[in-house]
Subunit: 187 residues, 2 copies
Amino acid sequence: MTNRDKLLDATFIEVYKHGYSGASTAAILKSAKVPKGSMYHHFSSKKELVLGMVKERLIPKVRESFYIELHETSRAVDILNYLFKKISKNEMLVKHGCPLHKLMFEMGTLDDEITELCHNEFVFLTDNLTLILDLGKQNAEIIEKDSKSLAEFIIISSWGALSRSPNHSSKEQFLKDTKHIMDYIKI
Amino acid sequence: MTNRDKLLDATFIEVYKHGYSGASTAAILKSAKVPKGSMYHHFSSKKELVLGMVKERLIPKVRESFYIELHETSRAVDILNYLFKKISKNEMLVKHGCPLHKLMFEMGTLDDEITELCHNEFVFLTDNLTLILDLGKQNAEIIEKDSKSLAEFIIISSWGALSRSPNHSSKEQFLKDTKHIMDYIKI
DNA sequence: TCTACAATAGACCGACCAGTCTAATAATAA
DNA sequence: TTATTATTAGACTGGTCGGTCTATTGTAGA
């Protein structure tokens, strides 16, 4: 593994744990076992390092949990149940929330570029979910609502459900929350 | 206004804007126009200052938006519509999210005491909302669901709705999100 | 082999961090 | 008045911050 890869991995963990402000370059370098000169060779600043981490680590990871390829034969309700179940099995997500949501929330007041990058991914995820909901409406599985607004609501409320205090969040708790979403959207 | 009060006010703003890690004592002192010795006279550390701010500023402010006294004659649906409307009119909340949610989310990985204090307030708010929903069920205004779970879902998804990127959040957007909640819970 | 550039390595820098210290002043009680 | 305590005031400290600098090493082409 190259030093660049080690840096991106370590940055993901440090920023997820301590936030952007709380993540120090020293801690990232120590955890990655990479010298400082190497980091500033690959990235011009801490911000650029984090931008790279979002593009090459955070977004791919989030898609693993919140994105699913649509097939003509798919059933929308099945897809959603599958996604929620998969998310609920990811202990990291359940305990500490969606890393994209967490970073976007923190950076909202600190940096427009990082915030926008996160927001674009939110749009990508909702666009995908919108297609799934449209399919569900065609199949008469899902209530007749504006699909895009509904998709946004599902993601934003899932993120809310994942952002409870770590000591009081659990797989069961999350599934209870998403049950409300499913009860709402199913016909 | 005493220096202690000035400090708590400034701490609320700085922590809301920059998060706990990003809020420096120097910035707080400058904004409050209070010397350092005065701060460390009233509070033994930055953490104690923030704990005081949560108890004496953040929690009261959050209750203004998310808490409502219950009266026997109240209609649950009216109360919720009123609360959502009031929240939507608070530009600060709509743009930058619920400060309680934001702090709890950040501190989840950093400090148990602050996280717990925030979580306790989440419990307080849900307990209050649970009573309102119970009343709504009695009046046959609201679907038959576990009131506590429903109350938690309403608050957590409202917080999610408020935690969108500031450049893409608006009063209208928030009301669209909460419309889904209302459509779900109303009979 | 020589050349040129990419990457590694870490000492070093000024700025800023939370927190300490001592001194001065205001308020209160005897 | 005097003694005592609460509060204000800010200079100062050791450590950490993001970032710079120079030197060295690895690597690929001529």
